[in-house]
Symmetry: C2
Amino acid sequence: MNIYDVSEKAGVSIATVSRVINGNNNVSEKTKQKVLAVMKEIGYTPNVFARGLGLNTMKTIGIMCTDSSDVYLANAVYYLERELRNNGYDAILCCTGNELSTKKDYLELLLSKRVDAVILVGSKFLETKPADNKYIIDAAAKLPIMLVNGYLDAPNIYGTLCDDENAVYEVTDALIKSGRKDIIYLYTSTSLSGQCKLAGFKKAHFVHNIPINNEYLHLCNKNIANARDYLTDLFERGRHFNAVVTSDDSLAVGALKFAHAHGMKVPEDLSIIGYNNTIISNCTDPELTSIDTKVEALCITTVNTLMGVFNGSNVPCKTNITADIIKRGTTLI
Amino acid sequence: MNIYDVSEKAGVSIATVSRVINGNNNVSEKTKQKVLAVMKEIGYTPNVFARGLGLNTMKTIGIMCTDSSDVYLANAVYYLERELRNNGYDAILCCTGNELSTKKDYLELLLSKRVDAVILVGSKFLETKPADNKYIIDAAAKLPIMLVNGYLDAPNIYGTLCDDENAVYEVTDALIKSGRKDIIYLYTSTSLSGQCKLAGFKKAHFVHNIPINNEYLHLCNKNIANARDYLTDLFERGRHFNAVVTSDDSLAVGALKFAHAHGMKVPEDLSIIGYNNTIISNCTDPELTSIDTKVEALCITTVNTLMGVFNGSNVPCKTNITADIIKRGTTLI
DNA sequence: TGAAGCTATGAAAGCGCTTACATCCTGCAG
DNA sequence: CTGCAGGATGTAAGCGCTTTCATAGCTTCA
């Protein structure tokens, strides 16, 4: 069943049917109603392939994220899909993992699928070595690239960023002011956002003129046991610390488990700060003080910006969002 | 840049180029290599729309889930996407919420996008009123419908099910045998899977000839506070209970919070059992005993079955997977 | 040496839609 | 009453690819 069936049954040409489908005004109301009635009657839906061929757009956006099963990223994917759909776009999901070559391959694949834009979720898409980001810049020559919590200074790439540096700075600053000077920083990634967080941590120490022991900075996987074990190791080697700042709620859980196992009271003996304010922060006891990176706002802004790009508005290539500190039971600040 | 550019540059006809693209054997090795070289040289990728028009398939599967931000469903989406991609298919994600009319609309939308099949994730897609499932059965007339943890007896609909009834039965039975006879059941849904779980709970009581107080069965949202508050209410009204079985880890967290607030020791005074074995079960203290519904296996089986459908194999329309009970700190069983 | 059977290739007809351009009305100003 | 503007509609040319069918060029075997 195709446009010809409709045109025949409605007694008009296919061009008129097409105009009705596309909401073109140059159709009399009467004809329009008749065509709509016929379409409904025979249950006609336009063939998207043929449509795509003509329009050269599928109204589809590729969402690339490293791992949609991650609690934080799953939320991002959820909000992105919702916003895109509200704007009449479909979302093709692509989980890439962290391997650079895989990310390249998947981006290539999305390009070949003629998506209208690609959204990269998570700063893991930005490599530490600038040259390694070339594949993104190249892709941007063909379609808009949106970075959710990332930024790359290149044409046709738009970033929406949460102010991670300041968030970690403030939280660390507050800890120091409250008298906690031996602070561990556990982090998950050396990506741009990871570097910002680390910078915020260092800045707070610098401002208060407190040196940082390198042992107190540790790169974990997003893994509860990793965090717990590292703290246990430090503790058993006699190191003193009274606060743990993390770059992910899961690491904060690890810290909590360490504290529990070693009879340290939280928050009295040990303050713990999570990141991303995921559901995990409501599940622990005490509940986690966590930094809310406003994932919903990030996603809404990203999609709005993209729609702006599509209709030729003058949109900023970088938008900042301010993180919130959600105070719960693992801190006294 | 299109197939004509390639054909011209390679000095062959577009038919030959098309054959090379599609791996047709009737091309001499020499010609094939020349064409491949040209494609690579000019960076040609076939236009998917034109391709779809000819082949009438986009190699794309629609994944509908009620809420991909839910920890459990996010995992399912992740595994489904991975498996589909391994089989050369893209995944279009669609989060529908629980509203029946919305679910209908979205299914319609996916059909109009000419996806090759639709996967419905989560038993929430099956309505209690059979007539309300008609929209799924109708859709199955056009393409295969896969239900992840659901089952509907109709042509072209394939279900992969976790044995929820038995899982809850076993866990309840074990609780009763260990001497816990006042068990609360907190659940999130009256869907098919929800009914199975409830049936398992009842069966265990029946087998042990223990009556069930209706107050002890409670329908919560997937909401920590709901679960906590309901238990608090029961407790304050003097009801006695020494175990809580739930249909979702989040409800178990609520139970844990209740216990903590009221000085009940877990698991000594109160046993708690979660469901779905999500990351949440690792975050609490003590960690949750939880029922692992094998989401990865469910998803792999679903996709394998679908591929079987595509290539005409004789696949079962119902596949069962056995749940595991993961014993952790909230029970003594 | 020639008929039969292959293989490799090309020509051309769609696939279902959009859209530029042509055409036909209708109404209204002159 | 004529002419023209502009709205409504139709015609037909693509969009880039797949695929059927025809054919040219080889091989093979009697």
